[in-house]
């Protein structure tokens, strides 16, 4: 009987090798996930020491009173769900992301839409180094020397029209490069988020001088696990507002449906400004742990940038608009 016969070939010879390996990876990954979440296999990103240097002049207006977080911490403790939900995942798995070649489409309610190559973006405005505090919604924080220029420089280049009220950022959608974007066993998103990752700002927030279009950190190009090759950094908001590995920027008239607000609307709002007295439904935001420090610190209003950004929200109820 046919089915009793020992197969003379391996299935790997029948199936296209790439598909075969892929499927094996998927199965192994799913099994590993079920047993030990966060142990799926893939390659780590290049070591930070091997990343290209990115010269930039420190901007004295944006220094920080606290010394920067160790680069090892900033590049091994990351929330980047495209690689997995655990904070160790990006540093273990981000080798799949290919930050070159890379293009960013800027479109929507703009007079001069365009597609910008990453090399072009790097030259669009003078690069400066700014040291910002980064406050994660999970009540930890870091201090990071970013490299970039104001997002407004790019936005002005495309000339938003009067209809543009919000700016939407889209992260790359590519399950080959972002393993956690692969569908789970039953076709569900394993992470609970819809891909691509979408974030957004009000146009006046996006035009604020603090909002940084970011291409590097610690004197180097962005590591994969930190959102290579280009991201935004919005220091007065919780970290998830700062979209990573951006491929599309749209100027729109309606408030964008952002990834976390869509997944858990009660817990993550569109604004998500750092606010010590507006608690997350499950935990307090009054204090934070600065990575590398032992004791908790008080969380500051707008993450310490109140004098620069509070006016954006004059007359707004920030408890309602969380």
């Amino acid at each position: 009987m046919l089915i009793r016969q020992a197969p003379r070939f391996r299935w790997s010879e029948v199936t296209d090798e790439r598909l075969y390996l892929n499927r094996r990876e998927l199965i192994a990954g799913a099994a590993a996930l079920a047993l030990f979440p966060g142990r799926a296999e893939a390659g780590p990103p290049p070591p930070v020491s091997q990343l290209a240097a990115l010269p930039a002049a420190p901007n004295p207006r944006y220094r920080h009173a606290d010394s920067p977080t160790k680069i090892e911490s900033a590049t091994t403790y990351n929330n980047f769900y495209e690689f997995g939900v655990e904070k160790e995942d990006p540093a273990r798995l981000a080798g799949t992301l290919k930050p070159r070649p890379w293009q960013v489409v800027v479109e929507g309610h703009v007079a001069k839409p365009g597609t910008f190559d990453i090399e072009e973006l790097l030259r669009l405005a003078p690069l400066e180094e700014r040291v910002y505090a980064l406050r994660c919604v999970e009540a930890w924080s870091m201090v990071i020397p970013w490299i970039g220029y104001p997002l407004s420089a790019l936005l002005k280049r495309v000339a938003p029209t009067g209809q543009a009220k919000f700016v939407e950022f889209q992260t790359l959608l590519d399950p080959e490069q972002f393993p956690a974007q692969k569908k789970g066993v039953f076709g569900f998103s394993m992470s609970g988020l819809d891909w691509p990752y979408v974030e957004g700002l009000r146009l006046d927030e996006a035009m604020h001088p603090l909002a940084l279009l970011t291409v590097g950190m610690y004197g180097k190009v962005l590591p994969n696990q930190n959102g290579a090759p280009v991201r935004v950094v919005v220091p007065w908001k919780y970290g998830f507002k700062s979209a990573k590995s951006i491929v599309r920027i749209r100027l729109v008239s309606e408030q964008p449906q952002t990834a976390w607000a869509k997944a858990q609307p009660r817990e993550y709002g569109f604004y998500s400004n750092v606010h010590p007295s507006v608690d997350h439904p499950r935990w307090s935001q009054a204090t934070e742990r600065r990575i590398g420090e032992f004791r908790r610190r008080q969380t500051l209003m707008f993450n310490g940038y109140a004098d620069q950004v509070a006016s954006l929200y004059a007359g707004m109820d920030l408890k309602k608009n969380y």
Binding site: S73, V85, S191, I291, R296
Partner: protein, 281 residues
């Protein structure tokens, strides 16, 4: 199992239960506790507490379903280690995470459901650990003790809820534990229902479950009875302890029963109980 076998097994499991702690200590020593050591230590201790709690709960169902009874002697050990890890988990929260900021912690206990259920689970584990000694079994009476210790299921449910509520979306682990716990609870409930059925039938027939006239295979009645067996370690030979009949029924003499079994050592029926001497004084 022989006495030496039991001692060997327990020693091995003791050692195994300390491995996660030793690994943690090693990682602390080599500076390998991630960028957020306090979180990492809290999480690791919490997860091992959870796993050991589930392991201790799995032993009775293991016996009910697969008929493998010998691991039951590990139940108290695993339960106490679960308590140990959860206590460390709690201490890290108090000392390292909040550094004795009592007001802040109090507010968290009241306001944060995941902390509320965590603390409740710990309180229950304290109660169970405090009454886990053989002396306590004697003092409370095996039956009351067994009833009290069913609270462990409440603690486990609260522990799983704690994890489900604190975990961010996309984490599968809490749901894996929830599923395991559901299966274990299901087996115990099925066992209890069967025991109840056996008892009803027995009562109606005016006989004990063992000698009921419906010719059911003997293993079923053993299965039914196991659910209500007591004692912290629950070695299979404890069935013979005779401290308490199943659900208040007159207990038939069972294999190797010791006359006056109520006075035997709860973990070793062959040996007279220490508690007996204490009581005798």
């Amino acid at each position: 199992m022989t006495r030496r076998g039991r001692i060997l097994l327990k020693t091995l499991v003791w050692g195994a239960c300390l491995v996660p702690l030793a690994l943690l200590a090693w990682r602390a020593w080599t500076g390998d506790l991630t960028a957020n050591p306090i979180d990492f230590v809290t999480d690791t201790l919490g997860r091992w507490g959870m796993r050991m709690l589930l392991a201790s709960l799995a032993l009775t169902p293991l016996r009910l379903v697969l008929g493998i009874g010998w691991p039951l002697i590990l139940r108290r050990l695993l339960g106490l280690f679960a308590f140990f890890y959860v206590s460390l988990h709690f201490l890290v929260w108090v000392v390292l995470d909040h550094f004795f900021a009592w007001a802040q912690m109090g507010a968290d206990i009241v306001k944060r459901p995941y902390i509320t259920v965590g603390v409740s689970a710990l309180a229950l584990l304290v109660l169970l650990a405090a009454t886990s000694t053989s002396g306590m079994v004697k003092r409370l009476g095996a039956r009351a003790w067994r009833r009290l210790h069913r609270i462990v299921y409440v603690a486990a449910v609260l522990g799983v809820l704690h994890f489900m509520w604190l975990a961010k979306v996309g984490r599968i682990e809490p749901y894996v534990y929830a599923a395991i716990l559901a299966v274990l609870l299901g087996v115990r409930l099925a066992g209890a229902v069967r025991a109840f059925r056996v008892r009803r039938r027995g009562t109606r027939a005016g006989v004990t479950s063992e000698s009921s006239s419906d010719n059911r295979p003997p293993r079923r009645s053993i299965v039914a009875r196991t659910e209500i067996m007591g004692g912290p370690d629950m070695a299979p030979d404890h069935r013979t302890k005779g401290a308490d009949a199943p659900l208040g029924l007159p207990r038939p003499p069972a294999l190797g029963a010791v006359p006056g079994g109520a006075r035997t050592h709860p973990r070793n029926p062959g040996r007279p109980s220490r508690a007996r001497f204490v009581q005798g004084r």
